[in-house]
Amino acid sequence: MLDKVDALIVGSGASGAAVAWSLADTRMRIVCLEQGDWVKPTDYPSNGRDWEARLFSDFAINPNRRARPTDYPINDANSPIKVVNFNGVGGSTIMYTAHFPRMHPSDFRVRTLDGVADDWPIDYATLEPYFAENDRMMGVSGLAGDPAYPPHQPPMPPLPLGKSGARFGKAMNQLGWHWWPSDSTIATTDYEGRARCINLGHCTPGCAQGAKASTDITYWPHAIRAGVELRTMCRVREVTVDAHGMASGVIYYDAEGKEQFQPAEVVILACNGVGTPRLMLNSVSAKFPNGIANSSGLVGKNLMFHPYALTYGYVDEPLDGNHGPPLCLWSQQFYETDPGRDFVRGYTFQFGRGVGAIMEAIVSANAGRLPWGEEHHGAYRKLVNRRIGLSAICEDLPDEHNRVTLDPDLKDSSGIPAPKLDYTISANSLKMMDHGIARAKEVLTAAGASNIAVESPILNGGWHLLGTARMGTDPERSVVNEWGRCHDVKNLFIVDGSIWVTSGGVNPTSTIQALALYIADSIKQRLANLFD
């Protein structure tokens, strides 16, 4: 048996890294177990001529396609939206597109304001200092003064508008609609030892330049210097409990595949909105026959994605294509509930700069836009680098039918049962998506685009994994309390997107990390009586 540690974190992604760094100043003995490995800058696709091809192989965003030994399979057959993620140091921030909006004050009060779902037990004001701290640690570029948000000051200037951004800006002005340069975790200046963005334009499968803030190059170097031990290639099978029903540690398989037991005073789960419920449901004991900390029966339930409705078109001149970070503008014109619409809540538009030459060919071939034969060449040249598009990131409301369970047959390479999804897009979300598509068509038309096409929902668009171990004050209606501690197990915490009560209509990582920092602070403030 290994020596007991004070705090054991499972998962080294967005939230695991933030919580590790924050807790490090307690001088506790902290270990993080991560099933994947470090990714070296030289591993990233943009180093080689096959950079676009690798999005379909070892850097595919869908783990079922990528199928590295460090990935786990996901049965997504019963979901129109497929989970995408990355398993390694940095977690899914290795693959994220670095769009970094915060939730809004209203997002924490949807029951009070709109009579749907539940209010959060915390609010924007509570998280505000943690948003700011996280912005500093991750390194956010953006522009102060956005009327869609309470005031805040990103530490670096915004990403360039480029040709596509200027076109969108003009179109939005013509329509009289809000738009603003996005907060983004891409360094636009040299920042804290990280080099600035040089517009490789291939941010999603990892940034060879180190300009994109994945947590392996932001939080982790600081956390490790402060004494946190990060053990890679260690896949946790289950959280164990002692005779008193407290978490006693975890059983995991180490890099050699050997089973290990790591005892711990406190266990913190940071495996994301699918990995965490999977691990909890796999943690069965006499005390918790339905999975650890699951007396509410809500572990795995209320899975929320943000269904993405993508609308795009083609203009008559070459734009930026894949040059530059793909996301640089947002609009929150349709964010807040409007009683005049046939749905509640709303969405953010994120504007896309363009795509690479191969991606254009593949997407257009699938959509039937590219003829076979002689005409292929002429048709393709009217498409390449001429695409502009925007996606509505729709707020998904919690619904217990949308859930993560364990697949009875499917297992990962360590023999651990894999997650299974059952997910349906709600009527409210569908109406919101239709609204977003109709507005997006107006934007594209104003921007001079034609040949307009829609992908709704984006199939491989399950990047935001939320709600599957929700936060609340009522142990019958929630899994963790208002500072991330499981109601049932007082030394078990959850810090990833699982704890979200509602999803807002924004990319979630800024808020996931602010929550992780807030929970870490709550732990630090209560160290003397943490288990009361």
């Binding site: 009070t112 304001l113 360039p160 508008l161 191969i358 593949i362």
Partner: protein, 148 residues
């Protein structure tokens, strides 16, 4: 090179089909996808799509009644058109691999006005753009909902 697991007939069929999907063009000064260098790249790159591509090629041969590459030109066109209608996901995988290899060929990239190099380390230039476009938005009052 022999890492593709295709039979000799399937290799010939794949090459013939790739050349039909993207033939050479004198007008654009580009080779077809059946060009030797590009086709070798295709054979090397079947990877995670190998099974689908084998399935697609069996389907293609079944539609034609014999090896696709052995058909007369006119019949090939008919068979290819029929296959395009019914090929489904395996055909999509096949087309994807053809495109992946075709559009990274130096000659093709140059004809598109693109530099034949990886993005890193040189990167690209993206213009700042005219930030005064944002003036009307800056002038807007706060638009987020306030809560108590």
């Amino acid at each position: 090179m022999q890492n593709h697991d295709l039979s000799a007939d399937q290799v010939r069929d794949l090459r013939a089909l790739a050349g039909m999907i993207i033939p050479p063009s004198a007008a654009y000064d580009v080779p077809g996808a059946d060009d030797e260098k590009i086709f070798n790249d295709i054979l090397r790159s079947l990877e995670r799509d190998r099974d689908d591509i084998r399935r697609a090629l069996s389907h293609l041969a079944a539609i034609g009644g014999c090896a696709f590459a052995d058909l007369e030109a006119e019949r090939r066109t008919e068979v290819a058109a029929a296959f395009r209608e019914v090929g489904g996901a395996p055909l999509a995988a096949l087309v994807r691999v053809v495109l992946l290899c075709y559009y990274r060929d130096d000659r093709v990239m140059r004809s598109l006005g693109q530099e034949a190099r990886p993005p890193f380390p040189k990167g690209h230039v993206v213009e700042q753009g005219d930030w005064s476009l944002l003036d009307p938005v800056r002038a807007r009052p706060p638009m987020y909902r306030t809560v108590d």
